[in-house]
């Protein structure tokens, strides 16, 4: 089975690149912030430096653990779901569900371990860069040396390997249990249902977000800056909760117009809920997290005006933007990654449409309509998640629910999200249209 797993990895490089990329970048991100904890826990450090580093490593490290765990689970699940056809073929060739689960698990474990190992140098570099910025801002003394140790390695390997393996186990068992014929048809049009597991996860996450919301409002005013540790999680929890409910949410999407492309797009929104809900989640997460966290920094800057010398405030701001930027960049890559994978999986569908008489232009128009509906819905939900973080934090810090900051950054983030969510599927679709239609219909 391990040999089969290895040869499958070799032959399906393209399909695994997406999963590998998510695990590799995720591990690097977690390791970067984990190494701040390692550095902060070094014996003999002055108390102020140690506190800054452990708080930062704890708070931002906590966010990134959550996000990377989520990314590992979704990309792995998506990667395995797209192999339903291959799994069906192996099953029809006599592979037992147990053998299949072991094969898929072996592939994913190997991929996760290699990705995390290769992420070490990137994590070291990221950790050093952030430490340098913290030292520039004066929050940590310049003589502190960067330590990359057990916490960075443990968190980096732990979160990627465990999340990926957990997701692989569930997805593989599910893929292996389905009957051969079912998995053949399911490969053609996967539908997503709001399973009991998804619903329970969603409700728990929403409850968690509500508790943090209440805590930020009640105890936040006394915590000051540290209220970020509470408020910063609300948008992430809310976004992941909305992702859990994605199968229901995508059913509510609407497309205007009466042309062939619009009719097809409407049909797809109804029937292809599987692909669409996996694409909705990263849009909500990226926008919610990026807007929420960037706005937190703005609220902070307003609240702490006059408390630090001008130069100090600037440096703290730069530091916060770099940290938020690292997390947002990871989520943006996750977004591109997910959209590219789920669009590339529609090669066969596009080819069949062309055989039925669809011009390349009509297929692009159909994808553009679907993607716009998805991007707009994701943007609205993402802004909702961001508001859940910003409003209570603004109340905690400034006594006013409505934060006072310029709308430039949220507007730019929304623009970036819409661009990425539209351009990625369109570029991938265009590249599949270059092939003659018949080669793409033969699996």
């Amino acid at each position: 089975m391990v040999r089969l797993a290895l040869s499958s990895l070799r032959h399906r490089t393209a399909a695994f690149v997406a999963v590998f990329l998510a695990l590799f970048l995720g591990a690097a991100l977690v390791m970067s912030f984990g190494s701040l904890l390692d550095t902060g826990l070094t014996p003999g450090l002055d108390a102020a430096s140690a506190e800054t580093l452990t708080i930062m490593g704890g708070v931002v490290g906590g966010w990134s653990l959550l996000l990377v765990g989520f990314a590992a689970v979704t990309t792995t699940t998506l990667g395995i779901r797209q192999r339903a056809r291959e799994v069906a073929l192996l099953k029809s060739a006599g592979a037992t569900p147990r053998q299949l689960t072991r094969m898929i698990l072996a592939e994913v474990l190997l991929l996760a371990v290699v990705a995390a190992a290769l992420a070490i140098p990137v994590g070291v570099f990221g950790g050093r860069t952030v430490l340098g910025l913290v030292q520039d801002s004066g929050q940590v003394t310049p003589d502190v040396t960067h330590v990359f140790g057990a916490t960075a390695l443990g968190q980096g390997f732990g979160i990627t390997v465990l999340s990926a393996a957990g997701a692989a186990f569930i997805a593989a068992r599910r893929a292996a249990r389905v009957r051969v014929v079912e998995s053949m048809t399911e490969a053609a049009a996967p539908t997503a249902r709001l399973t009991a597991r998804r619903a329970v996860c969603g409700v728990l996450l929403l409850a968690g977000a509500a508790v943090l919301f209440a805590l930020t409002v009640v105890v936040g005013p006394d915590l000051g800056l540290e209220a970020q540790a509470l408020a910063g999680y609300i948008d992430i929890l809310a976004a992941v909760a909305l992702a859990c409910f994605a199968p229901v949410l995508v059913r509510g999407l609407r497309v205007p117009g009466s042309g062939a492309a619009a009719t097809l797009a409407r049909g797809n929104l109804r029937a292809r809920t599987g692909h669409l809900s996996s694409a909705l989640a990263p849009v909500v997460l990226f926008l919610g997290m990026a807007v929420g966290t960037l706005a937190l920094q703005e609220v902070d800057a307003t609240a702490s005006q006059g408390m630090l010398p001008e130069e100090g405030t600037e440096l703290v701001r730069t530091l916060n933007y770099v940290i938020t930027g690292m997390v947002a960049a990871f989520l943006c890559i996750l977004l591109v990654n997910t959209l590219a994978t789920s669009t590339a999986a529609r090669r066969r569908e596009f080819a069949q449409l062309r055989l039925a008489g669809a011009t390349p232009g009509q297929i692009l128009a159909m994808v553009a309509l679907e993607s716009s509906a998805l991007a707009l819905a994701g943007t609205l939900l993402g802004l909702l998640a961001a508001a859940a973080t910003v409003l209570p934090y603004s109340y905690a810090r400034t006594d006013s629910w409505l934060p006072d900051f310029s709308p430039t950054i949220p507007a730019l983030t929304v623009f970036l999200t819409l661009t990425v969510a539209l351009a990625t599927p369109l570029l991938i679709t265009r590249s599949t249209l270059r092939q003659p239609p018949l080669t793409a219909t033969t699996p």
Binding site: A189, T263, L433
Partner: protein, 252 residues
């Protein structure tokens, strides 16, 4: 009046590099009159699928020209698509229906794509004629192979194309499903005057056609009018032996 609906002039197709590549079609010229049912047969590797794909505008020939209903098939992918949409219907071994659309929506899809108001009454009528009047709201995965292929035939006929190309249309079906599909194709020609070109390896299927074109090594090596399964099978066996003999002669 019988008009030539399909004309192939010196079709040549080389897969891969022009110098070292595999020659799939060497120099095929063929003319088919309107309202005929032609089967294309040959040993595997004889180029019959390539011939169909080039003739249908799904693949571009290395050299040669294709005329459908007097117009040359040429242009970029968008122009070719519009041409195919107007003149050509397809039936494939793997049906190629869209799983997310109902049977009725699959059948009216080519009309919608052409920007026409889909005539649902007509689509229902065709679906009733192919025996699927009670299945129009179902999605393809819920249908049997034979029912899916009959849906594909209804879709191929709905635009009233000049030529319907069928590539091993019975390849994935059982005997009963295959018989129904072949009867429908025959009916499309005899009753409704369509033109059908069908690639098959099955002598029984070929016997439903008016004539058979035999292909070997990328060239037309014979034709047979009013085929019977036995005559076709016998001819095909001889063709296979010839190819094997030629292969031995080359290697000796």
């Amino acid at each position: 009046m019988t008009q030539d609906i399909l004309r192939l002039e010196g079709l040549r197709k080389v897969h891969g590099d022009a110098a070292t590549g595999v020659v799939a079609l060497s120099d095929v010229s063929l003319t088919l009159p309107s309202g005929t049912f032609t089967a294309v047969m040959g040993p595997s590797g004889s180029g019959k699928s390539t011939l169909l794909q080039c003739a249908a505008g799904l693949d571009s020939p290395t050299a040669g020209r294709v005329f459908v209903a007097g117009r040359e098939m040429t242009g970029d992918e968008t122009e070719l698509t519009v041409f195919r949409r107007e003149h050509i219907g397809f039936v494939f071994q793997q049906f190629n229906l869209l799983p997310s659309l109902t049977v009725l929506d699959n059948v009216t899809l080519p009309l919608r794509l052409a920007g026409k108001r889909p005539d649902e009454a007509r689509a229902r009528d065709i679906l009733t004629k192919v025996g699927l009047g009670d299945r129009i709201g179902h999605r393809p995965p819920a249908l049997s192979g034979g029912q899916q292929q009959r849906t594909a035939i209804a879709r191929a006929l709905v635009t009233e194309p000049s030529v319907v190309f069928a590539d091993e249309p019975t390849g994935a079906l059982d005997t009963r499903g295959a018989r129904e599909v072949l009867n429908l194709l025959q009916q499309a020609v005899r009753v409704y005057g369509r033109t059908v070109v069908m690639v098959t390896h099955d002598p029984v299927a070929a016997a439903y056609a008016d004539s058979v074109v035999f292909l070997a090594d990328g060239a037309i090596v014979g034709r047979m009018a009013d085929p019977t399964p036995d005559a076709v099978a016998e001819r095909l066996t001889r063709l296979g032996d010839d190819v094997a003999r030629a292969g031995r002669a080359v290697s000796e």
